[in-house]
Amino acid sequence: MADPRTIETLDLRKSFGTTEALRGLDLDVPAGSIFGFLGRNGAGKTTTIKILLGMTRPTAGRARVFGLPADAPESSVEIRRRTGFVSEDKELYEYMTVDEIVRFTAAFYPKWHRDLEQRYLRAFELPLAGRIKALSRGARTKLALLLALCRGAELLVLDEPTSGLDPAVTEEVLQALVAHVASQETTVFFSSHQIAEVDQIADRVAIVDRGRAVVAGELEELRERYRRIQLVFDGGAPQPAFRAPGVERMRREGRVLTVLSSAGADRIIDEARALNPVSVDVVPVTLKEIFLETVSAED
């Protein structure tokens, strides 16, 4: 039976000298998902991607893509045969023209979609005879995306695909990505520190911080699970030790006690009633708030 997970990492570690880029990263990316890989700069996103594509070898732990070990040279070639990739810097061969790099890339992929190529060339308004070194950053990103999308890949790995782009081009790129995924059976794994775009297109997310996944799951489920509970007291707020699961963070400010829960609000509210608050408010939490709370909680 085929592995339902396109990407799986288990206790993945990578050190560069004394610097630990990954410190036991666990990830499960189900087939067919659009997986947002969120983290601050330097959190370990690019290192993870490089390990998945065989560009960097892990120090310890396991990384598998399509069930194949990412650190074995032969299986790594097979992984790349089935994967489209857009790097963070979008650097391509500057001495080539758009047409040359499209032909160059197409030659490696038997399932290359010529029809998509023509469609994206028109949609992105890329000049076939134009040299890559003369392209703007936006045009270069669109070209890199075209080269990834037309491969007929089962997996798209996009490292900060919209970094450095203006909002209009960002929207154009994201729309192209969503439209592509809707028409093809593709898993998308994209890293970003732009929470809004992950919120816009991802159905699953992992938040990585300092080389570890601190939050992971379906985006809708996270939105359901995460709640901010605000308790107001007559006098100074107490500092209770809740037994209910999922208390991620507590903050006391004067008469107000704020609790961030990752397991709903009901059980915490039940416990909090014993503290006689004068008011209890429960508000949903956005992905941005989850990100900021979980990442800053690590500081």
């Binding site: 490089k50 065989g54 040279p73 790349r80 650097e91």
Partner: protein, 226 residues
Amino acid sequence: MLWRKSWLETRTRFLIGLFLLLLLAAGNVLEYPRVSALIPAARSLDTGGGALGGLIRKAVELQHDYRGFIWWQWFRQNLTQMWTLFAVLLGTGGLLSQTSGGAASFTLSMPVSRTRVIGIRAATAVAELLALALVPSLLLPLLSPAVGQSYAVADALVHGACVFAVVLAIGEQIVADGSRYGIFGAMTAEVYFRTGGLPWPGLFVSAAASAAMLYGAAINIAETDF
């Protein structure tokens, strides 16, 4: 397609090298009448003792005929020096040098092994170096009638091939000049010039050194984190 990529990356350096070497080869041939006119006067010079004097006497002696002139000026000096320079220039620009520019990520995302990438890159450089050694050398027999001389195509091919066969100029650092296995001696094929035999020991040592270095580079690239 990797072949084409390698060609696109090296063609400017290769074509500049080819143009310069063709120019130099033509210049060597066309210079012969002027040099040959100076040889009788040079023979009567008092060059004194010592290494420099010996070298001058050797140069004058060898260049008294056209074949010696070509060997001394072209195969022993100009081609060997310029070819070595372009061997280094054409050898640069592989995966590691792409890292700073970022394009290495794109290359490494392709479904090909690193060994194949550097193998093709090395093979392209070797093919271009072969052309740099042979094409300008073959210009010598073509141009020689212009100065009333002739030069054997076989000589041009053998000498050019010997320069090429010593693929890595760095081999000069490994094996001392003048020794039985001297790389420089193999490059200039002095043995062939004097006796008609080929400098097999030097060719073998340089080929082995080249293969070892290429293998070392492949291992290094395979284990590098990009």
